[in-house]
Amino acid sequence: MSTKTKKWKWILGALALATAAGAEGWALKKQSDRVCRSAVDLAQHAEALRVWLAEADADPFLGTSSLRGPVNSAIAEFRARSRWIQSELGARLLPEQARAAFQQLNTAGDSSAAVSGALLKVAGLKSGLQCEAPVPAVAESSLAQQVDTGNEFWRDQKAHAELAKLEFERDRVIFCKGDELLQGLRRVVQASLGRCQGEKLSAKQAAACDAQKTGPVAMEIADLEKQKEFNMRKLRQKWPEPVLKGLQCT
């Protein structure tokens, strides 16, 4: 018998006592089976949720805003079940490791890192929890269905994210093209102004140097700056801040 299975010894003991106690004991056994089955069920599906959260966290094009619809329903169901398991009865019936995992999940708040960490622990219970008899329950099958639907929805979300990436890349190229033109012109002007310094300039050359500040190139720079601002406004309207953080022009 493994160490983890040993942890269930006291449950089995309690169940034996409950059986001996008649109908009340049968209820407790049924309840404990249900707690056990629910805990296993959550442990089996925790990884799917963890993947959603981790992917949403890692990819600004998915982001927390994409954790909605069926994914959100599945997460809500999962957490509700987790809270139920951690109820007084569950708390009494579950081993310490499992109790701690569900408690961590229920107190993780909204921090995706904390929730992911807790989900990882719940997922880790999968091989340790062994229920006496599988007792199918409507609630359990419902969670499996919700996770399946959530996974399907998540695939769609990821496909949309890929499209969004392409669109963002197109926007980035447009924005950066203008920025490169602008930087290039600034360098040209910088170099030209360098020629205006430290040399003996004729009056005409000095005038031409002064004219650089208002001449066609300066006007072009002003126009490109205006265009850049305009494009940046457009980008801010279109893309969330985490996505815009990735806006880098080489």
């Binding site: 447009i174 093209k177 490169e180 170099a191 265009q227 305009f230 494009n231 457009k234 309207q237 279109k238």
Partner: protein
């Protein structure tokens, strides 16, 4: 013919001193020696050092008119027109019938008036104002004349206008594969100047001068390929100054291929020319390969199997096998003959115009199975069938006449469309190349090699054309394939053409007379080389910024473009 006209400048240096009945000379031995040293230096376009010799010559013999006359040419090449005029007026005062001075002094005065008085002669446009913009102003394509490097005005007003003595009859320009460097071939200067991508800084210079010390670059020694040979009178065929014409890169930008118009000793362009291979990591020449007479254009095949070099001088195109990572692995492959090769004995007279069919432009199809060659004289497009993956010999399919009268440059895009400029008519034509190959298929298979030609009308194929201006020269397609840029030599303009509509999108004046052009890899810059003509204009490289205004607005979230 552009090179014909330009070559006048070349002849100045080669023969001007001998144009009078007897060579110009000084009386005193020391002065004569200094005169000769100066002329050698000027021949290498070391104008300032040449002037030092002439000044020393005049110190040794103040009355030596030969040194005064030659100093005029050095001042010319430095763009010091007042000094040129003063020197030659002094020569004319001593000899009012000096034929050379009588011939060239008016042009020097004209150039002086251009630079000083700003009176631009109608015959050419030079000193175009920086900051000029293309027309029409509301076009989606906007060009801005941003900067210039030139060797005709030593004291330009604008800080964006830079005097550069290495810009001598610039023929072509080429961006490095990464877009960080720009190479400008100074044909008469025998050098390639290297600039940063914005043209603000000169990064280096490649001199195409070969002496005994460079013998190791000639792996084949003094042997010429494809049955060519050097005249017996040439004792050291690999010691010369090369006149760089065009540039192509290979091996992802690692090597540059620069064909020479001719070797400096081969005044008539009747002997094998050469092609330099430059390692772009060091910007040094690493190999020189002999090629046919008057090598002009150079084009890399898409499968990187061949580098093709057109030989203006004798109706041929050389194919060089460039498989292999190192230049010493490159080898001469076939010599393609366009209809009929010109025998050496017929290579006489003015070789700029006495060039047979004057083959120039080259374009491989996307799959390298066909090579198109332009024939500027007589107006033909010749086609060779190639076997890029196998050993089959190239096959001359024939020549199509009747599309444009003087095709010069051509490009093929990834949609199978061939674009060709016509120097004579000023047209740019677009035509599906497969239709041209299909037309050539109508020539009976048993037709003799030299008779394989077909005259068609533009309406026989799905062609579209646009008039850009007489003297349409180089052509470049933008990376997205939506715009063609063309240099128009006679009107001294850079013209942008909207490919889908084959309509002019923008035109802007450039220093006369433009010949070459190149787009930066990101498409934001167009560099134009103005080579000049008949000692007028030219000696200038213009940097133009290109903006595609419809393509620079970030679209709205729901695809509805807002107006700026």
């Amino acid at each position: 013919m552009h090179v014909t006209l330009l070559s006048i400048a070349l002849f100045f240096f080669s023969f001007a001193a001998n144009a009078a009945d007897k060579p110009r000379s000084c009386e005193r031995k020391e002065a004569q020696s200094l005169l000769e040293q100066g002329m050698v230096l000027q021949g290498e376009l070391e104008s300032e050092r040449a002037l030092e010799k002439y000044k020393a010559c005049l110190a040794a013999e103040p009355a030596c008119q030969a040194c005064v006359y030659e100093s005029g040419w050095s001042y010319w090449k430095l763009g010091q027109w007042e000094e040129t005029v003063a020197a030659w007026e002094s020569v004319l005062a001593a000899n009012p019938s000096d034929p050379d001075v009588l011939q060239f002094l008016p042009t020097a005065k004209e150039n002086l008036s251009l630079v000083k008085v700003k009176k631009i002669p109608t015959t050419f446009v030079s000193g175009v104002k920086l900051g000029a913009r293309s027309t029409p102003a509301d076009s989606p394509l906007s060009l801005l004349f941003l900067a210039r490097r030139q060797s005709y005005n030593r004291t330009p007003e604008s800080p964006l206008d830079v005097f550069d003595a290495d810009i001598q009859s610039p023929k072509s320009v080429h961006f490095s594969a990464d877009g960080k460097k720009v190479y400008v071939n100074s044909l008469e200067g025998g050098r390639t100047a290297i600039f940063d991508a914005l043209g603000t800084e000169k990064l280096g210079l490649i001199r195409h001068k070969f002496t005994e010390a460079e013998a190791q670059f000639f792996l084949e020694g003094e042997k010429a390929p494809w049955g060519y040979s050097f005249a017996k009178s040439v004792k050291k065929p690999n010691e010369f100054v090369g006149k760089p014409v065009e540039i192509e890169h290979s091996h992802a930008g690692k090597f540059l291929w620069i064909p020479y118009y001719r070797r400096s000793y081969d005044a008539n362009g009747a002997m094998p020319s050469a092609l330099a291979i430059v390692d772009t990591a060091t910007d040094k020449i690493v190999r020189v390969m002999a090629v046919g007479p008057i090598s002009k254009y150079v084009k890399r095949s898409h499968t990187n199997r061949w580098m093709a070099v057109s030989h203006w001088g004798d109706n041929t195109v050389g194919l060089i096998d460039m498989r292999g990572k190192k230049p010493d692995a490159f080898r001469h492959e076939q010599l393609l003959v366009v209809e009929k090769k010109i025998p050496a004995k017929e290579m006489k007279g003015d070789r700029d115009s006495n060039c047979g069919f004057c083959v120039r432009g080259l374009a491989f199809t996307e799959d390298d199975k066909y090579l198109f060659v332009t024939r500027m004289k007589g107006g033909g497009l010749s086609v060779f069938k190639l076997d890029p993956k196998g050993p089959a010999m190239p096959l001359y399919l024939g020549t199509l006449f009747g599309l444009v009268p003087g095709p010069r440059d051509l490009e093929i895009n990834d949609k199978g469309e061939l674009f060709v400029t016509c120097n004579a008519s000023g047209m740019v034509m677009r035509v599906p190349w497969r239709e041209l190959v299909a037309k050539l298929g109508e020539i009976p298979a048993d037709t003799k090699y030299e008779a394989r030609s077909l005259r068609i009308k533009a309406s026989d194929v799905s062609s579209a054309k646009v008039y850009v201006g007489e003297g349409a020269r180089s052509l470049r397609l933008s990376k997205d394939g939506k715009t063609i840029f063309v240099t128009v030599n006679k009107t001294s303009e850079l013209v942008g053409v909207d490919v889908s509509a084959m309509r002019i999108a923008a035109r802007i004046p450039v220093d006369s007379y433009p010949v070459g052009l190149e787009l930066s890899p990101d498409g934001s810059q167009v560099w134009v080389t103005s080579q000049g003509r008949s000692a007028k204009g030219g000696n200038s490289v213009g940097v133009f910024q290109a903006r595609y205004k419809m393509q620079e607005i970030v679209p709205s979230a729901h695809g509805e473009d807002e107006k700026k």
